[in-house]
Amino acid sequence: MIAIAIVRTKDLLAVVMLTGIYGLLSASFFVVLDAVDVAFTEASVGAGISGLLMLAAITMTGRAEAPKRHKPLLALLVVFITGGMLIYGTLDMPYFGSFEAPVHQHVAPRYINDSMQEVGVPNIVTSVLASYRAFDTLGEVAVIFTAGIGVLSLLSLPLRRKSLQLDESSKDQMHEQHMVLRIVSKILIPFILLFALYVQFHGDFGPGGGFQAGVIFAAAIILYAMLFGLDTARRVFNQSLIQLIAAIGLLLYASVGVVSLFNGGNFLDYNVLADDPIAGQHLGILLIELGVGCTVAAVMIIIFFNFAGRREAQQHATEQSSLELINSPELNSTEPNNGKGE
């Protein structure tokens, strides 16, 4: 498949492109395998965001890969041995699609048969995600939040006001270059945001939910930031506001659990949130999905903004250092070295 081509290609940009196609392809695979929600997520994440992040990283690190210096024979040997052992292991596995496989015997029938009475949400994936296994999901959201903090601490920059004036001329140039793009995206962005909200609140009934909606929302903001400049986007969604939203999303999730604890149930047991258990479940799932959506969207925006901000700062630094080089050739810049490889 495509993966083999990824191994062979040296140009990293092409690799990223192939990764994007690979994401699309695996998402269609998920559709064929009936995993609608997963395909949804993979579509928005694998094809969109991950490719963009990798691109942003590549612009900072240069695109050509160095030729290999050692023979890959040993690696191939290891890979073949491991693969052979894994295939030998699969001989005992249940057949593809068989209904008698042990996976389908344990808890899944209960989810499928009883979730309508217990939770009252047609989309079983949502009910399992947000109600039966809500504690897991809380952990996942916390992981995402932590990753956002990690990126922030690794890549964030001190605010510099000085660079703003210099960017104006290049911004005007950009305005002219992307006229058509800008207008079309101005039309499209509200639709994307609206669609994200639809996915968010329709997740109980169809495919969708907080994770997907967060990613789509973030994608719309990223589109805006790419076309209208990072500073313009920052003016709408400034950094501290997004960080606040990310924290609030996680807090909302956890506090729903605490409230249900106070009302006499278990942690994240929504039956006690309202008089009627079903209504309580609905309320709980709604709030939790909202929290998840907030956190995911905010973390994705944080990640992208930091990557792009770091990139702009780098470009700015290289421009300045080249200017300085023209003015005085023997001046060595104190900026961190961000030129080419050697």
Partner: protein, 113 residues
């Protein structure tokens, strides 16, 4: 009435498939980037539109129809825009179209706006 819808949707799907296939052959066989883009851009927009219209005729009902129309609308918006941006970027980075031998001497004129 139902039969007419069936036949119409079948025809649309067939036409769309043909257009998509021709676009696929075009992207593989044409000699340089701009002709490839021509093949893809023209046949993709129409082919996707045809297939979507065929699907629309297949199941005319409420929300599904609305979603199909949204997809069609977005496709019609997005494809030409993306092609435009692509062509512009390629031209700006001095990717020359392959011209005939006779006209090649003045050939770099159109690439510089």
């Amino acid at each position: 009435m139902n039969l007419i819808l069936e036949i119409g949707s079948g025809l649309c799907l067939l036409l769309g498939c043909f257009l998509c296939l021709s676009g696929g052959v075009g992207i593989l066989r044409f000699p340089d980037f701009f002709t490839r883009m021509h093949a893809v851009g023209v046949t993709d927009t129409l082919g996707a539109g045809m297939i979507l219209i065929g699907l629309m005729l297949q199941n005319p009902e409420g929300l599904v129809l609305l979603k199909l129309m949204m997809i069609l609308l977005f496709t019609l918006f997005i494809n030409p825009t993306a092609s435009h941006a692509l062509a512009k970027a390629a031209l700006r980075n001095n990717l020359q179209p392959v011209l005939d031998e006779s006209t090649n001497k003045g050939g770099d004129k159109p690439s510089k706006p």
